[in-house]
Symmetry: C2
Subunit: 173 residues, 2 copies
């Protein structure tokens, strides 16, 4: 018995999905697993959501919890908790927002910057791995089509009933 593979080799290894939905489920699961695995190898003890928030803060000057939540399209409650853990870990700091006393501006601490540098390296590494046998055209096409699909899914949520404020009652095509 050749035990070349880590996974069960006695069954067919992994059927290639041809449906859009299965393709999506499988891709994202593999991607997230790989990401988790890699950051674990690099001894960066942060969940993926925290990493994305950190990245958002590092790339956006004068961001707030609200703007991070918008950018990540996540619930503000979830973001609050993530930010508080990053704060507790000393990776970010909240400073008073002179323009709005309800909110605070977020910025990386120096250890936050250090972690971010590592995370950027990890992201580059994984991106290189994902695209190693793809042409630049393919990568560009993938991003374009993905964004297009994303827009298609989002738009339907918003429009559909211009003058209806409840908006959740449409039978949805």
């Amino acid at each position: 018995m050749s035990s070349l593979l880590l996974k069960d080799s006695s069954q067919e290894p992994a059927p290639q999905p041809s449906s859009l939905s299965e393709t999506l489920h499988r891709l994202t699961h593999t991607y997230k697993s790989r990401l988790r695995e890699t950051i674990k190898e690099k001894q960066i003890p942060l969940p993926i959501t925290h990493i994305r928030a950190l990245k958002g803060i590092s790339r956006n000057p004068a961001c707030t919890a609200h703007s991070i939540a918008q950018r990540m399209q996540r619930d503000k409650a979830q973001i609050t908790r993530v930010l508080n853990e990053l704060l507790k870990d000393g990776l970010i700091a909240k400073i008073d927002n002179p323009k709005d006393r309800r909110s605070q501006l977020l910025q990386l601490t120096s250890s936050g910057e250090l972690i971010m540098a590592q995370l950027n390296a990890v992201e580059q590494q994984i991106t290189a791995q994902m695209t190693c046998n793809l042409s630049e055209q393919d990568v560009a096409a993938f991003i374009r089509i993905s964004n297009s699909i994303n827009d298609n899914l989002s738009d339907q949520t918003l429009q559909s009933q211009p003058d209806n404020q409840s908006a959740s009652t449409d039978p949805q095509v």
Copy 2:
């Protein structure tokens, strides 16, 4: 106040990500949200993982918990629990596997078949929505590239061959 939008309209709505990782995170989140929303509208009270398992059972004759886990690339513990809930809900049945007394064969009950018919309609509907402004070539390209990325991410787990010759090692667009 015009409540045309569900989300905050006072800020820029949603910046288009140009990195592969952000694109992936955003796409899958939107997709899953839309899927959850749609099955909720259709009064199908099942989590997404359960739906995928059900679909796997419906499309695979003589499948077992193990083969479902493999196909979905999920932990067998997770699959066990999902299948037990589907069983409890009367959507599937386990029958003794004459070939192997450790496992049982899975099949849909008649209510499982009914739900599956609805779910197939939902999937078709969402797929149509996702691809409404895409050419067939784009959809095919998306599936091909996604599967390729998935393979790239999976393979590295097994062989860990760091040669990385890859003519086009562009460091993340």
